[in-house]
Subunit: 340 residues, 2 copies
C-alpha cells in the first residue's frame, strides 16, 4: 500500500495543499463542493495525516500527557483509562505514558515536554518532594491526581484526591472498633508529603485518639507495590510477630500479598489476623477473602483531573479538589481473636 502525502491528495482533487489542510482540520472557509471532492479523495486513498509533520508545526500547548507511575498498579491504570475516555470529548488530545514505579516522573515530564512539546500534564501516582520543583521551573500546567498538592506552593499545579489521612484514620478506627489492639502498618514512605505519608498520619491520628502508642521503627514496614514485595515482607515479619492481630496496608495489592503470606504461615484471615487494603480495586472484591478497603471514586477523579487541566490550559488558576471515599467492608476484617 502506498503512503500518500497531502500533496498527493491535493493533486488528485485538483486543489491546493492548503485547501486540503483546511478540509482536514474542519476549517469553515471551504466551499461545500470542494470539501466533498477532497474528502472523496481522502477516503479513496485511505490518506492519514502525518502526525510528526503536524505536531512539528503545532509545537507546544497543543496536547496533554498523562504520566502514570506504577505500571503494575491496577488502580492507577483504571484511573488512566477513565481519564482517556473523559478526554475523548475534549478538544485537547491526550496521550498516556506508563512508567515504572522506580522511574522519575519528573524526568519523564521534562522529556515529554521537550520531545513532544506536551502543553499540560496529569501526574498519576506521583509524589510531592523536592523534585517536583522541576514543574515550577518548567511552568507548564500540571494536575496531580490522587495526591494533594494544595500545600506544595507550586503556582502551576492543581490536584484531585480523596482525604487520604481521614480515610486511613477511618480504616484504623474500623480495626480498633473490632477490638484489635496489636496492629501493624504495611505501606510506603512515611515522611514527606505523599499519599503514603498522609495515610500513615491518618493511622496515627486514630491510634492517638484511642490513646494507643505505636513505635514506628518497630512495626512499620517499607514495601514496594508488588505482590511479591508485600508477601515476602509479611512472611518475614509475622515469623517474629505472632501477637499482631491486624494489618493495615496501603494498597489492595499489598493486602493480597499479606493475606497470602499469612495463609502460608498457617494463619487464617480474618479469624486469626484481619487485613485491610486501599483503593477499592476490582480485585479486592474478587479476592478470597474479599478485602475491606477504601474505595476511591475512580470515575470522578478522572473526570475532575481532565477538566481541571483543560481549564488550566485556557488560563484558569490551579484548584485543589477533594472527593469523597467509601469504606468498603469485605471478608478480610473480623473481631480481634481473644486467644490464638
Amino acid at each position: 500500500m502506498e503512503i500518500y502525502t497531502i500533496r498527493d491528495v491535493a493533486r488528485k482533487a485538483g486543489v491546493a495543499v492548503s485547501t486540503v489542510s483546511r478540509v482536514l482540520n474542519g476549517r469553515p472557509d471551504v466551499s461545500e463542493e470542494t470539501r466533498r471532492r477532497v474528502m472523496e479523495v481522502v477516503t479513496e486513498c485511505g490518506y492519514v495525516q502525518n502526525g510528526n509533520a503536524r505536531f512539528l508545526k503545532h509545537a507546544r500547548t497543543d496536547f496533554a500527557a498523562i504520566i502514570v507511575r506504577g505500571r503494575r498498579s491496577m488502580f492507577l491504570s483504571d484511573v488512566a483509562e477513565q481519564m482517556l475516555s473523559c478526554a475523548q470529548g475534549m478538544k485537547t488530545p491526550f496521550l498516556v505514558k506508563y512508567i515504572d514505579e522506580a522511574d522519575d516522573e519528573f524526568d519523564t515530564l521534562r522529556q515529554l515536554y521537550a520531545e513532544k512539546r506536551a502543553g499540560g500534564f496529569i501526574l498519576l501516582g506521583s509524589r510531592l518532594d523536592e523534585r517536583s520543583e522541576a514543574i515550577r521551573a518548567l511552568g507548564v500546567p500540571c494536575v496531580f491526581a490522587t495526591v494533594d498538592a494544595s500545600r506544595s506552593g507550586l503556582g502551576n499545579a492543581s490536584s484531585v484526591c480523596i482525604d487520604d489521612r481521614a480515610a486511613t484514620r477511618a480504616m484504623m478506627d474500623h480495626l480498633l472498633d473490632n477490638g484489635h489492639r496489636r496492629v501493624t502498618i504495611f505501606g510506603g514512605n512515611r515522611y514527606g508529603d505523599d499519599v503514603f505519608a498522609r495515610r500513615y498520619q491518618g493511622a496515627m491520628d486514630s491510634l492517638h485518639a484511642h490513646g494507643m502508642a505505636f513505635d514506628p521503627e518497630e512495626s512499620y514496614r517499607c514495601l514496594r507495590f508488588s505482590l511479591e514485595g508485600a508477601y515476602n515482607e509479611a512472611k518475614r515479619y509475622f515469623e517474629g510477630h505472632r501477637d499482631v492481630t491486624a494489618v493495615l496496608t496501603m494498597s489492595d495489592t499489598m493486602a493480597a500479598g499479606v493475606i497470602r503470606a499469612l495463609i502460608d504461615l498457617g494463619l487464617r484471615v480474618p479469624q486469626d489476623v484481619s487485613v485491610t487494603g486501599f483503593d477499592g480495586t476490582q480485585m479486592s472484591r474478587f479476592y478470597v477473602p474479599s478485602i475491606t478497603t477504601i474505595s476511591q471514586p475512580v470515575e470522578a477523579i478522572a473526570r475532575e483531573s481532565v477538566t481541571l487541566l483543560c481549564d488550566m490550559l485556557e488560563g484558569a488558576q490551579p484548584r485543589y479538589v477533594t472527593l469523597d471515599y467509601t469504606l468498603l467492608e469485605g471478608e478480610s476484617v473480623g473481631p480481634c481473636p481473644t486467644e490464638r
Copy 2:
C-alpha cells in the same frame, strides 16, 4: 524554562547544526574535542531533540510499535513490558500502544503506520481472521506474539507462541487424571484460528482420547476477559449445573472470577470443584487458593518477538517459533469428590 532547538545548541557551541546532529546521533565522523564541547552545551541546556522533527525526516522503517489488545490483561502487559526492556538494546526504537479488547488492532496498526510511519509491528493478544488480511495489503513486517501465524498464509507475519493446543490438552488430562468426569470449559471464541479456538481443540483432544463426549452447545460458555464477566457467567452456570466437578478456564483472570463465584455459591475449591487457569500470571500464585495454570515463558516470548521483528526489518523471512510451557500446579485442583 526555555526550550532549546538544535540551532541554539549549535550557536552556543560555536559549530554548525549538522555537527550537533552528528554528535547527537553518535556518528563517528566528529572530532573528540568537538563532541565534548557539544555535549557540554547539551547537558547544560538540558536540550532534548524534538521527536516530531526527527521522525518527520526519518519517515517509515524507522521504529516499531507494539500493539497490546487487552488493557486489563496482567499477562499481556507483563509481556509488553518485557518486550520493551528487550528492545532497549536494539537500535530500533519501540513504542507501545494499549487498546481495548473491543477495539480492532488492525485499524490501530493502519493508523500507526500512516500517522507515525511505524516500520514494523508486534501484535499482542491479537486474533487471526479475515481482518488480519489488512496486514498483507500493507506489506509491513509483523510479529504475532502468543498466536500461531504459521498457517495464516501471510507473507510478512512471523509468530511466537506456545503450543496452546497441547498445553490445554495437558491441562485437561490433568483434570481427568484427578478423576474428574464432568468438566466444563470457560473460554472465548471456539471457532476460527485464534488461541481460544486452539485451546478449545486441545481440551477436545484430551476428552476424545479419554473416550468422553462433550456437548459444546451445552457446556461451553463464551466470556469476556474480565473478572466480572467470568464471575457472573460462572454464577449463572453453576446454579443449574451442580454436578460439574471441574472447570477449565482460558485465563487466570477467568479462573479467579470462577473461583470467587463458586465460593459465593457455597462450594469449596478444590474440595467440591476444581478450577484451572492459563498464562501463569503472578496473581495465580498469590490467589487463595493458588491457581493451577499453564505458565507461559513471558521473557522468552518477549525476547523472541523483538528479535524476530528486528530481523524482518533487515529483510529476513518470517519465522514461526514455538516455545515451551509448564503446567504449574496450585491449590485449585484436587481429586474428584466421590459425592457432594
